[in-house]
């Protein structure tokens, strides 16, 4: 009893119209949940609700119905017994007559009709009764939008789920639907109505059925919507676009062939409308209708369809000139082009579908068309391309497209088109069908080929080639029977090839090159040759020697016409296409002649230096040839490697400088093109490893380097190539390369002279040699190459004898060998933390290595300052003192600082703690006070100060090294370990220290160095991090401007600082910080307006001032006279860009008042 009262209160809440909608929804859910859990039967519920369902108060009755319907809606997947379902259906069916409760009744019907078989479905007879009641009682048109939508949904449900039940209703049903969907305007309902027509047609497919008899009326209702005009904004709540509606209507149009007598005339009429959208839609609809209505019905429209399509194609073909279409094809597809494209698609469908007993009606129409005939005559007489008007170009492309579509459709179609047009084209091109000899009048050809005819001819050739590619099975009668397109083509192809070839040869030599005409011709001549050479095996219309002639002509273009880049590229591209085609079809027979004529020729061209062709083009050609396939590429690789190694020998042993100039582009080509191709095609590993080992063999065999080999850029290039070779290899190959390199390294003079164990005394001996003077060139090359191998390794690749390596690299680092420092940094960065215990190097951990490196770096500084070495590691003061006792030869210290910077970078990127130690060390260099020591130490001469300054400067620059991204190593490409946000972390840990030191520093030189470090840190750190700290940074930023603007050398730094400032100015937080320091900021910016050394600084300073004019008026107004005075002077700046900015700035500050 208790329960009963609780759910009754829910009913009352729902029926009471004063309740909130949310509460009502909650009560529906509550009751539905009860029924679902079987705590309440539907029967009991209905009985309880009896009063609400039968009362004479309309509003209460409607609410009651709605409640019952909503509950049923929630119970769609709950099994119900058939008695309940049928009594409910009966009830709702009867209630359809009660218009006051119609809303609820519709929802209830829908909920019942949607039930699936396994949970108790509505019976067929009941469904029919429901449909009858619906048809007699519901006036769809007079209902509101939501109810209409429900009505359509009910109909859709009936048609989809109970087709056999409603079919018996026949005409009544179709008539009812017609009445319901007439004059519908809401897009959501329209989607449903279009769909309704589609299923209706499926229910009554019979020619004597109801749809057939009502087809006229139905189509009359539908046709009013065509073409869909829908301008509703996209961002509305029902999410229906014009395309959706159009597609739905199209399906409705195509749903039954009974629409044919009405639809086709309408579509053809709309095709001639002036609205582009209508045209486009009619073409799409027509295309679909042709496919759906069937040949029998459509055949009688063939003539009309063709003439309409013809008009569309001729009037809307693209009229851009050749060159622009070939370059910028497809980036913006205008409506015009779309229409032409749709029309051509439609034509193709028509040709394919409309063939009956009288063969190919459309094709005969095309072939016999007078317009085509006339236009063909007109355009095929166009001489030069540039001479033809836009209009005739449009005609030309239209004719070309129509012919190509019709010949592409079928073999027989192709033959008909060929019979009609091909001989005439040949005639215009002055090619005679002499199959035996090439005795046509090509020898004394004076004028170039007729352009129009050339264009059409190539279109035809291309389309019949496509035809042969698409037809899978080879039909032998095409090649045997006389008068097919193939035999015609075969007759003409020999002479045609010769005509094209000689015309192509003539292009280069004649004066045509000067204007573009020659090029336009050449495009099609080359394309023609290419197409003729690319017929699949059995269809090849040309004989073997003609085929070879094509290749010879194209190759001669490549080898001789290199001054004309356009022609050259065109020919190379054509050759590559031909080659790829051969490769794709595994045509070994033609592959042989391709190899013989093309590949051999280009290879020999490359091998002989005597030709006048520039090296860059040769490399282009040969690397392009390589892209055809693996076999070709391996040949190219061999060739390039040989060339590289021989040139390498020439450079290193004989000191031949010219060879170096060739070697650099060779290496570039190898690493950029060949390796990139190998990487994508998957055989990178094998190629790269072999070549890397080859280089190392070479290095091993050359024992004496020529003295003069000081070619920095060559060494850089070789190093880069080596890095790229190693970079892409898998772990095993990498470790092979490393071993090889290591063994070569051991053979170097500096290592072989001494024992391999590094005793401290020996180390010292090494260290005392101040620079690389005593290192032979061979050794330097080997060390650099070894360093580049190390830089590019994967983290997991094991290194042999890590201890020795890091010792050695440290030594070189101290000698100022930059690659060694970078290699060491890479090693540290990728150091395996959980290294395998079985490894020889396992005893040597990262921490130990770092200790060693740091110790030796400090040692170098100390030993060079002749101090005894005592406990080094926790002795900041001692270190400082030794730093301050300045050595005359400071290069050690500088080297050590640069090396530390790189190692710090490596550590920072992997997030290692020791980076702090390094940073503090660098900071101490910055803070060391030279004066104090100078006073005490009389022997310190004047240059001591310089030395100190340079040391402090390099310590400051070390921060730049640590924070900036490097192209050379320690980046993503070379497998560095990179912790996210490592820059931010360094920035936030360093900033407080730097800021406080700047504040405390008294000495000018120290302050300059600190500011420099500060500037590096904030300009290299991510802007977002800097802006967040704006309040603390801005005062020091201004200090840095003052300090750094003294020296010309700092101009780039000043510029990057200004960029930071402008970043701060763009941010809301930053603006506040600027306002607090407004006086200093403005006075510094004004000073920078006249910065003499860099235009960008002046320009950016003025831009910053423009941005500042937007700050709160009260704060900046006092500065106005000052700014205006400065900017007026900037109007007379010597650079134009600065003057323009000054004009804007002045206006901004003047108009502020």
């Amino acid at each position: 009893m208790d329960k009963t009262s609780s759910w009754i209160s829910h009913i009352e809440a729902f029926v009471d119209s004063s309740c909130a909608p949310k509460q009502q929804a909650a009560s529906v859910d509550a009751i539905a949940a009860l029924v679902k859990k079987d705590l309440l039967t539907l029967e009991a519920l209905v009985r309880e609700m009896e009063l609400y369902l039968t009362t004479s108060d309309h509003s209460i009755r409607a609410r009651g119905m709605l409640l019952l319907a909503e509950i049923l809606n929630c119970l769609i997947s709950k099994p119900l017994d058939s008695a309940t379902v049928s009594s409910l259906v009966e009830f709702f069916t009867s209630k359809l007559a009660d218009w006051q409760v119609l809303h609820g009744a519709l929802i209830g019907c829908l909920a019942l009709l949607r039930r699936k078989k396994n949970v108790g479905m509505v019976k067929s007879s009941e469904a029919r009764a429901l449909a009858e009641s619906y048809l007699t009682n519901v006036q769809v048109q007079s209902l509101a939008v939501h109810d209409r939508k429900l009505c359509f949904e009910v109909l859709q449900c009936l048609l989809e789920a109970y087709p056999e039940a409603v079919e018996m209703l026949g005409d009544d049903l179709v008539y009812g639907i017609c009445e319901a969907i007439d004059e519908e305007k809401d897009p959501r309902c329209l989607m449903l109505t279009f769909h309704l027509v589609e299923i209706l047609a499926r229910v009554f497919p019979d020619s004597s059925g109801a749809v057939a008899s009502f087809a006229g009326d139905l189509f009359d209702i539908l046709s009013r919507y065509f073409p869909i005009y829908f301008t509703h904004p996209r961002s509305d709540d029902f999410d229906i676009t014009r395309e959706d509606l159009s597609r739905a209507l199209m399906h409705a149009f195509c749903s039954t062939p009974f629409f044919e007598p009405f639809a086709i005339p309408l579509l053809l009429e709309k095709l001639s409308s002036s609205l582009p959208l209508a045209k486009l839609d009619s073409l799409k609809y027509l295309n679909n209708c042709i496919q759906h209505y069937g040949t029998d019905r459509m055949i009688k429209h063939a003539g009309a369809i063709w003439s309409n399509l013809k008009d569309a194609i001729f009037n809307h073909s693209p009229h851009k000139t050749l060159s622009s279409t070939s370059e910028a094809a497809g980036n913006t597809e205008s409506e015009e082009n779309q229409i032409a494209k749709e029309a051509l698609i439609c034509l193709q469908t028509a040709i394919l579908h409309l063939d009956s007993l009288e063969k190919d009606p459309i094709l005969s129409l095309i072939v016999e068309d007078e317009d085509i005939e006339m236009k063909f005559g007109l355009v095929s007489n166009e001489g030069a391309c540039t001479g033809i008007s836009i209009e005739s170009w449009r005609q030309l492309s239209a004719v070309g497209n129509i012919l190509s579509v019709s010949s592409k459709a079928s073999m027989s179609g192709c033959t008909r088109v060929f019979q009609k047009f091909f001989p005439r084209l040949m005639n215009i091109l002055e090619v005679s069908a002499s199959s035996s000899s090439y005795g046509c009048n090509t020898k004394n050809r004076t004028s170039s080929l007729n352009f129009g005819a050339l264009y059409l001819c190539i279109q035809l050739l291309a389309s019949c080639r496509e035809l042969t590619l698409t037809s899978q099975d080879f039909s032998p009668q095409v090649t045997t029977v006389q008068d097919t397109w193939w035999s015609m083509l075969q007759h003409f192809s020999g002479p045609l090839v010769h005509a094209l070839g000689s015309a192509l040869v003539a292009v280069g030599s004649s004066e045509l090159v000067s204007n573009n005409t020659g090029h336009e011709h050449a495009i099609y001549e080359v394309k023609g040759l290419q197409v003729l050479a690319m017929f699949p095996g059995c269809y090849l219309p040309i004989s073997e020697d003609v085929y070879e002639y094509i290749l010879v002509i194209l190759v001669s273009m490549v080898t001789e016409r290199f001054e004309d880049t356009f022609l050259w590229k065109l020919s190379v591209k054509a050759l590559i296409e031909i080659g790829s085609f051969i490769e794709k079809h595994h045509d070994s027979y033609r592959g042989i002649s391709f190899n013989r004529i093309v590949v051999e020729r280009i290879v020999s061209l490359f091998q002989h230096d005597d030709s006048t062709m520039p090296l860059a083009l040769k490399l282009d050609a040969i690397s392009e040839i390589g892209t055809i396939g693996v076999d070709y590429m391996s040949r190219v690789i061999r060739l390039l490697e040989e060339a590289i190694l021989s040139k390498f020998l020439a450079v290193c042993v004989e000191g031949c400088l010219e060879a170096a100039e060739i070697l650099v582009p060779l290496l570039e080509c190898y690493s950029n093109r060949v390796l990139a191709w190998c990487y994508t095609s998957g055989n990178f590993d094998e190629v790269a490893m072999r070549f890397a080992l080859c280089i190392w063999d070479q290095m091993e065999s050359i024992t004496i380097f020529d003295k003069d080999v000081k070619l920095k850029d060559l060494l850089d290039r070789v190093m880069m190539t080596m890095k790229l070779l190693v970079w892409g290899c898998v772990e095993e190959s990498q470790s092979l390369i490393v071993r090889k390199a290591y063994s070569v390294l051991l053979s170097t003079t500096f290592l072989s002279e001494e024992s391999l164990s590094f005793s401290p005394s020996k180390l010292e001996g090494l260290q005392l040699t101040p620079d690389l003077v005593n290192l032979s060139w061979r050794d330097e090359w080997i060390v650099s190459l070894f360093a580049s191998v190390v830089m590019a390794l994967l983290p997991q690749t094991p290194l042999p004898d890590v201890k020795l390596l890091s010792n050695m690299l440290t030594t070189f680092l101290l000698k100022g060998h930059l690659p060694a420092a970078q290699a060491l940094a890479s090693m540290v960065n990728k150091w395996h933390v959980n290294i395998d215990k079985s490894e020889v190097s396992s005893a040597y951990t990262l921490d130990e290595a770092i200790e060693m490196i740091l110790e030796r770096s400090l040692l170098s500084i100390q030993s060079s300052s002749n101090l005894g070495k005592s406990d080094l590691l926790n002795n900041g003061e001692r270190m400082l003192s030794c730093l301050c006792l300045l050595n005359k030869n400071s290069s050690f210290q500088n080297n050590a600082v640069v090396g530390l910077a790189w190692i710090g970078k490596g550590l920072l990127m992997r997030g290692h703690e020791k980076v702090k130690e390094i940073a503090m060390l660098l900071l101490k260099y910055l803070l060391s006070n030279p004066y104090k020591e100078l006073h005490s130490d009389v022997s310190g001469s004047g240059d001591g100060l310089d030395v100190h300054t340079s040391l402090a400067t390099s310590a400051a620059d070390a921060f730049h090294v640590i924070l900036s991204d490097s192209e050379v190593c320690l980046n993503k490409k070379f497998h560095a370990t990179i912790r996210p946000l490592y820059k931010q972390r360094f920035f936030s840990s360093m900033m407080p220290v730097l800021l406080s030191s700047i504040k405390q520093s008294r000495l000018l030189s120290m302050r300059v160095a600190l500011c420099r470090a500060f500037a590096h840190v904030i300009s290299d750190a991510p802007l977002a991090a800097v802006v967040a700290e704006a309040k603390k940074i801005v005062p020091s930023l201004m200090d840095s401007f003052a300090m750094l603007s003294e020296d010309v050398l700092n101009k780039d730094l000043i510029y990057s600082l200004l960029l930071v400032l402008s970043g701060i100015l763009m941010d809301d937080n930053g603006k506040e910080a600027i306002i607090e320091n407004i006086n200093t900021v403005i006075s510094h910016l004004i000073r920078l307006i006249f910065y003499p050394h860099m235009m960008l600084v002046r320009e950016t300073a003025i831009q910053c001032l423009v941005a500042m004019s937007g700050l709160p008026h009260a704060r900046i107004y006092p500065m106005r006279p000052q700014v205006l005075r400065a900017v007026s002077k900037a109007l007379d700046d010597q650079k134009r860009a600065v003057r323009q900015e000054a004009v804007r700035c002045r206006q901004a500050w003047v108009s502020m008042a």
Binding site: P1092, H1093, M1094, M1095, Q1134, R1136, V1143, R1146
Partner: protein, 158 residues
């Protein structure tokens, strides 16, 4: 005051394409780029006509050739052509030109604004008015006139 537009139907010409100065790749930081014809023309081409929403360039009131400049002698002369002979807006256009150049050029420059000979009914009077410092200064004291000038100049600072 005349009601209605003085030239209701002006001929609108096409804007010339902005000549992009070829950005020198290796900039000599200290080389001087003197103020030239195009730079002056760039300053004034976008000034809006006082009665139409077109720029002076589109109405061919000023062209690049109508600018004479001599940077060494700090001298500029702009000759403009009113669209109709009796155009009472000629003085306003001239004033706009003068104000714009005053604001955009270094103070060492002497600016001379003139009507092209034979293109205006009261040519001499307008020329005199435009090149009289006192009268220009007085005109700019007039808030209505100043507002009008500023409105015409607004597009040039975009």
């Amino acid at each position: 005051m005349v009601t209605g537009l003085i030239n209701a139907n002006p001929i609108v010409y096409e804007r010339k394409e902005r000549r992009v100065r070829s950005a020198p790749t290796d900039i000599d930081e200290y080389a001087e780029e003197p103020i030239d014809q195009l730079e002056i023309f760039d300053h004034i081409r976008d000034i809006k006509d006082p009665e139409h929403p077109y720029s002076l360039e589109e109405l061919k009131v000023v062209t690049e050739d109508s600018v004479e400049v001599n940077d060494r002698h700090s001298y500029v002369r702009v000759t403009f052509t009113p669209t109709v002979e009796h155009c009472s807006m000629a003085t306003v256009i001239g004033l706009c030109l003068r104000v714009k150049l005053l604001r955009s050029l270094p103070s060492r420059y002497k600016v001379d604004v003139r009507i092209a000979p034979g293109t205006h009914a009261t040519e001499a009077a307008v020329n005199k008015q435009l090149n009289d410092k006192e009268r220009v200064a007085a005109a700019l004291e007039n808030p209505n006139l100043l507002e009008m000038v500023n409105e015409c100049l607004a597009p040039t600072f975009a």
